[in-house]
């Protein structure tokens, strides 16, 4: 009888702070826990009693890496509540803004956070010594994403231009022109990125995931669509709570999401989007995906870095399409008026599905808010990956095994700052 515990006290190269504990028993993995010890910041509590128009600025601060995702889920949930549809060029501009965040966030993860795992470095800066060309390309590609955020949002982190109903200021067509030139370069850099990561050495591990993603009939999912799975789920965001629940476990300050009634864990994010919405990728993104050896679906979480590269390419393509088709709108926003009600939305953050629900009163004051970030939704799945995979790596020396565990966590690009919050549970089943 041997019992061994692998501990990684502070996970590097994830957003926020977490630790990992894997318990082995007689050569088998007994349990895996991702401990999240980010201090709780109580966003859902202090959103109460704020005016609904403050939402985009406040919820952005949940996460410095994907503030646009929080802004987008927030404004769409409130527009759902207020019965407002934002269409035409404003809708396209929102897709463009999301493209910027996907390019920036995915590129940061691919080059600075995840690639070092595959190539054996402590981080991107150390990797730059031997892979200067790749790291420089990565930084410049990330910069193009940030340039979109700067122009359309005002700044890369916590953009100031998003409002319920649209934007404070819509860009002039001529302002977007220089971005197009940069994006043409970025598209090539994204193709090089995909080819580069495809050369990495991947552990051949697959799991039969339940994928959950937004699905839209004609476009790769950003802001709109039904919530679907590969097991027959097909619902509106308004029905999210009826199908999913969160539990508060002792070892983490992030909640764990599951399907209700013992329906188990599920996976959101790049693998889920790619596998369920492959046909909505741009032709070029599909072609490169095939060229680098991805099928129409991907169930190996270590290959998520390849899928992210394909999504970067898609985001460059989509951003170029938006810029090309852009016609300046007459007004930068649709007028909205407060009315009591409840609204729901889910959008696709780089890391996965991000669900928001708000109640407001007649004065426009928020009376209740619920936010379920992707890292909470993926955490149960991530822990199952560890239990499933780590057993087969046990012949590795301790340090290498620790690295492999960390890499398995980083497959998910977890944003621990986002996931740390508490939801109001309708019922405490734990």
């Amino acid at each position: 009888m041997t019992r061994k515990t692998i501990k990684v006290d502070l996970l590097a190269r994830v957003e926020g702070e977490g630790a990992l504990k894997v318990v082995l028993h007689d050569g088998k993995v007994q349990s895996a826990e991702l401990n999240i010890f980010e201090p709780p910041r109580f966003f859902e509590a202090f959103l109460r009693d704020r005016h609904f128009t403050e939402t985009p600025d406040i919820v952005a601060r949940i996460c410095g890496i994907c503030p646009v995702a929080y802004q987008m889920s927030g404004v769409h949930a409130l527009e759902n509540l207020l019965g407002v549809t934002v269409g035409g060029p404003l809708r396209d501009l929102r897709r463009l803004l999301y493209c910027g965040e996907w390019i920036e966030s995915h590129t940061l993860h691919v080059y600075m956070l995840h690639a070092p795992d595959f190539l054996g470095y402590d981080g991107g800066v150390q990797m730059a010594r031997d892979h200067a060309e790749a790291v420089t390309r990565g930084l410049q590609l990330k910069k193009v994403g940030n340039e979109i955020l700067q122009l359309l949002g005002g700044r890369e982190i916590h953009p100031i231009n998003v409002r319920v109903g649209g934007f404070h200021r819509a860009p002039r067509k001529r302002e977007l022109a220089p971005l197009a030139e940069r994006l043409k370069w970025a598209r090539e850099a994204a193709i090089e990125t995909a080819r580069w990561v495809a050369t990495f050495d991947f552990p051949e591990r697959e799991r039969d995931y339940t994928f959950v993603t937004l699905k839209h009939p004609s476009e790769y999912p950003f802001n709109e669509g039904r919530i679907v799975s590969n097991r027959g789920l097909d619902i509106e965001a308004a029905d999210y709570d009826a199908h999913f629940e969160e539990t508060h476990v002792a070892h983490s300050t992030a909640l764990h999401s599951h399907f209700r009634d013992g329906g188990g864990s599920y996976l959101t994010g790049p693998l889920a989007r790619f596998s369920l919405a492959f046909d909505q990728l741009s032709p070029l993104a599909q072609e490169i995906a095939r060229e680098i050896g991805l099928g129409r679906e991907c169930r190996n979480p270590y290959r998520s870095i390849m899928v992210r590269a394909v999504e970067i390419l898609y985001a460059c393509d989509e951003a170029l399409r938006v810029i090309e088709d852009y016609e300046e709108p007459d007004r930068s926003f649709v007028a909205v008026e407060a009315r009591a009600g409840v609204g729901y939305a889910a959008t696709e953050a780089p890391r996965g599905l991000l669900y928001h629900r708000y109640h407001i009163d007649d004065a426009g004051t928020i009376t209740d808010a619920q936010i379920v970030p992707p890292t909470s939704q993926n955490q149960a799945c991530l822990e199952e990956d560890l239990v499933d995979f780590v057993g087969s790596f046990l012949d590795l020396p301790d340090e290498a095994l620790r690295h492999r565990c960390e890499q398995t966590v980083r497959n998910y690009d977890p944003c621990i700052s986002c996931a740390t919050h508490f939801l109001r549970l309708e019922m405490d089943r734990a």
């Binding site: 502070l10 201090p39 709780p40 202090f46 704020r50 982190i157 734990a430």
Partner: protein, 262 residues
């Protein structure tokens, strides 16, 4: 030039990670910074060694837990120069909204098991706990200013981050004042550094860089009130990302109905 590169540590407390991300968002300068400094501890970017002494520590986030209230003393003890970056570290951040409420109410609103959680009743700035050598403002910080701060450290000079108001930046940009067109704006009382971003996008400044050096918030509130803002709105406008910075805190309390002695 020193014989060895100065050791840099980047530390995180309660925050969104955005300010330390600003360092990684310096795409053109990052490798140069890595050449000038030994990035010894920066968990968001690299696996590294926490031990030893740091020539420069950049600290993000506020103090919200008993553990962090201890940890900051350890970080200070091992840092020759300690610079706080961002509104969480310089004023307590958005999570300082708990300071105006009962944190137990917050817990009961959102927790299934409050007993799993350790938290303080307040969120406070790093300078409330240890000596801070320089504070860089902003939610998030301006990455140009971050580079200036790091360069200033390397050159042994003071950073160049004027404490004037956002209004000065608007004038320098040639913006038409948004207050003239009836848009409430915190520019007159807010610390410069963003480049007058919000007014340049047709909206009022919402104070994310915190109070300027000598703000006259009561005077601005009178103007805003004249533009039709009610007491609740005035309380809210000062109570965001720098809610616990003293001039904003005091002004928000003047408009907080809970504080009425009637």
């Amino acid at each position: 030039m020193p014989h060895r590169k100065p050791r840099l540590g980047v530390w995180k407390f309660a925050s969104c990670d955005g300010c330390q991300l600003s360092l990684l968002d310096c795409e053109d300068e990052l490798l140069a910074i890595a050449g000038a400094l030994d990035i010894a501890y920066f968990p968001e970017a690299t696996r590294g060694d926490v031990k030893g002494v740091y020539d420069l520590s950049l600290v993000e986030g506020s103090i919200t837990t008993p553990h962090d209230a201890e940890r900051i003393h350890d970080v200070r003890g091992r840092s020759k120069t300690l610079i706080t970056i961002g509104a969480c570290a310089t004023s307590g951040g958005i999570q300082a909204l708990r300071n105006f409420a009962d944190v137990r109410d917050y817990m009961s609103i959102v927790y299934a098991h409050p007993q799993y959680i350790e938290t303080l009743a307040t969120s406070t700035a790093i300078a409330d706990h240890v000596k801070v050598d320089f504070e860089l403002r902003g939610c998030p910080i301006n990455k140009g200013q971050l580079i200036d701060v790091v360069s200033a450290f390397l050159a042994g000079r003071r950073p160049n981050t004027p404490a004037q108001s956002v209004c000065i930046e608007c004038k320098l940009k040639g913006n038409v004042c948004v207050m003239v067109t009836g848009t409430p704006c915190l520019g007159p009382v807010t610390h410069a550094g963003c480049g007058a971003l919000c007014p340049s996008y047709n909206r009022g400044c919402y104070g994310c860089f915190g109070p300027k050096e000598t703000p006259n918030a009561p005077s601005l509130s009178a103007w805003l009130s004249g533009m039709g803002m009610n007491e609740k709105a005035l309380e809210r406008i000062y109570r965001t990302f720098n809610a616990n910075a003293e001039p904003f805190r005091k002004e928000s309390e003047r408009h907080d109905a809970q504080n009425d002695q009637g």
